[in-house]
C-alpha cells in the first residue's frame, strides 16, 4: 500500500518536473533521482544493503543523510540564483529610473552605467 503511494508520488513528481522546460543536465539529475527512488521503493532491502556497504547503520539513516545533503545543495543553489536575480532587478530598475528621469535619454537605458572595476 505505502509502496504504491510512494511510487505514485514519484511518478507525479516526474510528470510535474517534465512539464517544465529544464536543461539537459537538470533532466539527467531528475532521471537519476527517479530511478534510484524507484529502486529503493520497489526493493526496500536495497537501501539497507547500500547503507551497510557505506558503513551507515540503517537504510533509513542513509536516506535521511542523502536528503539533508541534497536539500542543502538545493537551498544554496536557489540562494545564489536569487542573489543573481536581485542584481538583475537592480540594474533594470536603475536603468528605468535614469531613462525616465528629467534629463534621461532613451538610448542610455540599456547601457550599463558608470565604469566598473
Amino acid at each position: 500500500m505505502i509502496a504504491s503511494l510512494l511510487l505514485l508520488a514519484l511518478v507525479m513528481l516526474c510528470v510535474y518536473v517534465g512539464s517544465h522546460r529544464i536543461s539537459g543536465s537538470q533532466m539527467s539529475l531528475v532521471v537519476c533521482g527517479a530511478v534510484v527512488g524507484l529502486a529503493f521503493v520497489i526493493f526496500p532491502q536495497l537501501a539497507s544493503y547500500t547503507a551497510h556497504v557505506l558503513g551507515v547503520g540503517r537504510g533509513t539513516d542513509l536516506l535521511v543523510y542523502v536528503s539533508i545533503i541534497a536539500g542543502l545543495f538545493v537551498s544554496a543553489h536557489l540562494y545564489f540564483r536569487s542573489k543573481h536575480q536581485e542584481w538583475q532587478i537592480i540594474e533594470l530598475t536603475r536603468a528605468l529610473a535614469l531613462q525616465t528621469s528629467p534629463g534621461g535619454r532613451q538610448g542610455d537605458a540599456l547601457r550599463p552605467t558608470g565604469t566598473d572595476e
Binding site: F80, I89, T93, L96, A97, L98, T100, S101, G103, T113
Partner: protein, 226 residues
C-alpha cells in the same frame, strides 16, 4: 553662492513627511539636488518635486545602497564635479556641505566623510552609539583606514572618485562596502566633524539594531562571492 559643479544625492524611502523640510534647508543647492525615491508608496516623489529637486524613481524598493548609486550615476551624467550624499530625514546640517567642499579642495581629498563622533551626535540613543562604535572598530580592522565614523550618510566624492567607486550592496551594507572600495583603490580620505541630530522622526525612521545582523550576512556573502 553654491558650488556650481556640486550635485547633492538624497536617497529617500517613505520620507513624504520630512523631505520638503530637508530640501528647503538645501535651498541654496537647488536645482542640483537629486532625490532618488526608492519605491516609496507614500508621496515622497511628489513632495520632493514640489520642493524643486530632480526626482528619480525606483519602481520597486531596492535599498539605500542601490538608491545612492542611481543618484550618483545621474549626477555624473549631469556633469557633476563633486557629489555629496545627504540623508533625507533632516539629520544633517546643511552648512557642513561647504566644509566638505573646502576640505576636498584644501587637502586634495578624493573622498570626504562626515563624522558624528569627532563632531557631535545630538540625542543619540545609547544602543545606536554602541552599534555604530562596533561598526567603526570592525571597519577599521578591515580597511586599516583611521576613521571615527563609518556609517555617516554625509559624504563628498570628487567626480574622479565617484567614477571609480561602484556600490554593489543594495542595502545598508553599502557603507562598509564603500570604505573597503576606497581602501582598495587607495583613495585619499579625510574626515570632517559634523553634527547629527537625532529627532523623534529620524529615530523612528533609522536603522533597527537587528538589521546589523543582516548587514553582516550581506557582507559575508559578498566576501564569499568576490
Amino acid at each position: 553662492m553654491a558650488h556650481r559643479g556640486l550635485w547633492i544625492v538624497i536617497p529617500a524611502y517613505q520620507e513624504a513627511a520630512q523631505i520638503e523640510a530637508t530640501l528647503s534647508d538645501l535651498g541654496a543647492y537647488l536645482p542640483r539636488v537629486v532625490v532618488v525615491d526608492d519605491g516609496s508608496t507614500d508621496a515622497t516623489a511628489e513632495a520632493a518635486r514640489r520642493a524643486g529637486a530632480e526626482v528619480l524613481r525606483h519602481g520597486v524598493n531596492l535599498g539605500q545602497g542601490a538608491a545612492l548609486q542611481t543618484g550618483i550615476d545621474y549626477a555624473l551624467r549631469s556633469g557633476a564635479t563633486h557629489i555629496c550624499t545627504f540623508d533625507a530625514d533632516g539629520q544633517h546640517d546643511t552648512h557642513t556641505i561647504e566644509r566638505l567642499l573646502d576640505t576636498a579642495a584644501r587637502m586634495g581629498a578624493d573622498v570626504v566623510l562626515g563624522s558624528r563622533f569627532s563632531g557631535a551626535a545630538v540625542d543619540m540613543p545609547p544602543l545606536r552609539r554602541l552599534a555604530l562604535r562596533c561598526a567603526v572598530l570592525v571597519t577599521r580592522m578591515q580597511t586599516r583606514l583611521p576613521l571615527t565614523d563609518t556609517h555617516n550618510g554625509l559624504r563628498l566624492f570628487t567626480r574622479e572618485a565617484a567614477l571609480r567607486i561602484r556600490i554593489r550592496q543594495p542595502g545598508m551594507a553599502h557603507a562598509s562596502e564603500l570604505l573597503s572600495t576606497v581602501a582598495r583603490l587607495g583613495l585619499h580620505v579625510v574626515e570632517v566633524p559634523t553634527t547629527v541630530r537625532y529627532t523623534a522622526y529620524s529615530r523612528a525612521k533609522g536603522q533597527r539594531l537587528s538589521n546589523s545582523v543582516k548587514i553582516a550576512l550581506d557582507l559575508a556573502y559578498a566576501a564569499l562571492s568576490s
